[in-house]
Symmetry: none
Subunit: 230 residues, 2 copies
DNA sequence: ATTAATCTTTAGATTTGTCTAAATTTTATT
DNA sequence: AATAAAATTTAGACAAATCTAAAGATTAAT
């Protein structure tokens, strides 16, 4: 079975929102896709009819197994093309997302496999996201300690190393929590403090002790700190 | 200005039909695009409104300079991708057309230039068709004797060197005629015979004497091609 | 537990590209 | 030149994907 570009975009967005943890809502999906909730509802019905989605009106929705399989196929194509654009064509890693959004809809399965082979089966794309194999399997993204995070690489806080009230108080004061997206701008060797930038806030600095408690994972579609997309 | 995939397909088809010499008609275009004449008329009006086409109802049409420029851009992308698919991804030259039909609609101009650079500015695609440069200029294609045809380069029989019944009998037996598309798979130096492959038939071999009577031109836009700059 | 606020869906319209069937224009034939 | 044939265009309809506006369902708040 084949799908329209629009259907594929919905499937991919649902997949990504599901990965981010929360239950996906019609409104979430509408804003992710830059469209209106009414349009989303229409498409949900189509995807349900094609058995890609578990959906009941007013009750929410999630990808079916088949929908997930399709989503992983699109993600595979997107990330392989990003890898090609950066490592072969010498694009910057911040320039390739939009182009890959087009390339991911090219349908030939043979093309994907030949490309994968040509690139020697890369496991991660230029943003650090894992590339699913032909069966949809991919390596888990490992959490990285903030201390070890690459400069200017956006990542999302996924765990904290302690639950102490003192730590939580400090995190709250600095507007950092699970899901916060940030990047390291500078590392100071004098005291191992870091200058970081949290989305929608001006840069500020944090201590080595604090940094050590924060674990992060790279973001899908991460960009330079200057131009926050997604 | 940008164009829909459908608009681009119309522009490209008009370009190709114009290259084949005759004046292009609504019916020709409809059958080329596997659609109906009424649909063609609708699109012609759209393309005229976008100044890509000189068109007056019932009087015929032709690409404007701007339309030609756009067509050459699409042809450039198509042929560069075909080159990539065959020479980098190791597709057979007979497998790449449909895939390139999709890839030619990817919009990024930067991608085209990086790809061209990556491939070291090839002048001809795997079928022997010339690849327009960024200004729409490309090398003229001349008729080539079958003896001189490059290996694995598809070409269309455009002339035979004799009208003898003996020759025509042989050509008929081998299913070769004007317009036949074939490629040379192998050349044998022992007797200068050639192993060739005619579309839709298994490969077979022909003698030096026969090969010498056959003149071919690479597929698609036949003879002329100027440059439309600016 | 009502009411208010929010979220989701329906109803009906719009745009793009297509179609069929009928009308119009051009061209070819007698 | 008149008429038949062919090519082209118009008129009206449809499917896909979207929109706005309004109605329906759920959730939150008093």
């Amino acid at each position: 079975m084949s799908f329209t570009e629009s259907e594929e975009n919905y499937i991919k967005s649902i997949y990504h929102l599901q990965q981010q943890g929360e239950v996906v809502s019609t409104n979430d999906l509408a804003s992710e896709l830059q469209t209106k909730p009414a349009s989303v509802t229409d498409m949900l019905k189509k995807l349900k009819a094609k058995k890609l989605l578990n959906y009941e009106r007013y009750k929410g929705f999630s990808l079916s197994d088949e929908g997930t399989r399709v989503a992983l196929g699109i993600v595979r194509k997107h990330r392989l093309w990003e890898y090609f654009l950066v490592h072969e064509l010498e694009f910057g890693w911040d320039e390739v997302h939009e182009i890959a959004e087009e390339l991911e809809h090219i349908s030939s399965p043979q093309l994907v496999e030949k490309l994968d082979n040509y690139l020697s089966h890369p496991k991660f794309d230029p943003h650090g996201d894992p590339i699913p194999d032909i069966n949809g399997r991919m390596e888990l993204r490992k959490q990285v300690n903030l201390i070890d995070l690459q400069l200017n690489c956006e990542a999302e806080v996924s765990a904290v190393g302690s639950q102490s009230t003192e730590l939580l108080e400090l995190l709250k004061h600095k507007n950092i929590g699970i899901g916060t997206v940030l990047a390291v701008l500078k590392k100071f060797t004098f005291d191992n403090s870091l200058e970081i930038k949290v989305r929608d806030f001006p840069p500020f600095s944090i201590s080595q002790q604090l940094a050590q408690t924060l674990f992060l994972k790279p973001l899908y579609g991460a960009t330079t700190v200057g131009s926050i997309s997604k």
